[in-house]
């Protein structure tokens, strides 16, 4: 697998991990607090997500370089990479749009603003996961 595919695998794993934590947090009373507290907590979760992604990509590059005894780095994107990225982003955009619509429905039907904050965050996380998964699928099929 290329560096780009490994990056997508890592992004997918981190999105699944953080998404699972957010769902757990929301179901175990996290949504009970004020919306500002929930938003602040999820902002930290977003920062952790970015940090985990960076650390995992760097760690994977180091481990791969040691195991294969070759430099493992990202290559410049060519036309196929750009086409796959564009199609994956289209799928991610669809996921984030669904997240936005679900959030609007939750607010419209009287759910607490804290729940809406969770929905927005999960929509973004889901979009990241869909984008990464789409990349992996498109790299396999064409």
């Amino acid at each position: 697998m290329s560096f780009k595919q490994w990056s997508a695998v890592i992004m997918l794993a981190v999105a699944a991990l953080v998404g699972a934590w957010v769902v757990y947090d929301g179901l175990t009373g996290g949504a009970a607090g004020p919306a500002s507290a929930v938003a602040a907590r999820l902002l930290w979760a977003g920062l952790v997500m970015i940090g985990l992604n960076l650390a995992a990509v760097i760690g994977a590059a180091i481990v791969a370089a040691i195991v294969t005894r070759k430099e493992f780095h990202d290559e410049a994107a060519d036309e196929r990479d750009r086409a796959i990225y564009a199609r994956s982003m289209r799928n991610a955009y669809f996921a984030v749009s669904v997240g936005g619509i679900v959030t609007l429905f939750l607010v419209a039907f009287g759910y607490d603003a804290s729940v809406a904050v969770y929905a927005i965050f999960l929509g973004g996380t889901l979009a990241g996961a869909v984008g990464a998964l789409s990349q992996l699928v498109y790299y396999r099929i064409g």
Partner: protein, 75 residues
């Protein structure tokens, strides 16, 4: 990048063989794409842009139609 059975076939593998068993990495380097893209083109999983198709043909010194052939559906 298409759906279903690929309609554009190519002879890149044969041409690489006749070019002194040129590696996919070497071809990728000459064409200016990644090795994964050459693999995908060879396997018919990805149809390149016209520009990349012409560059591949140029590497082998052949006309485009010697490298890529279009197979009409049902043909």
């Amino acid at each position: 990048m298409g759906k279903g059975k690929p309609q554009i076939v190519n002879t890149i593998r044969t041409l690489r063989f006749h070019a002194g068993e040129m590696t996919q990495a070497a071809l990728a380097e000459k064409v200016g794409v990644t090795r994964q893209t050459i693999v995908a083109i060879e396997q018919g999983r990805y149809s390149p842009s016209l520009e990349v198709a012409f560059r591949i043909a140029e590497v082998f010194g052949r006309p485009l139609t010697d490298v890529f052939q279009y197979q009409a559906e049902g043909a």
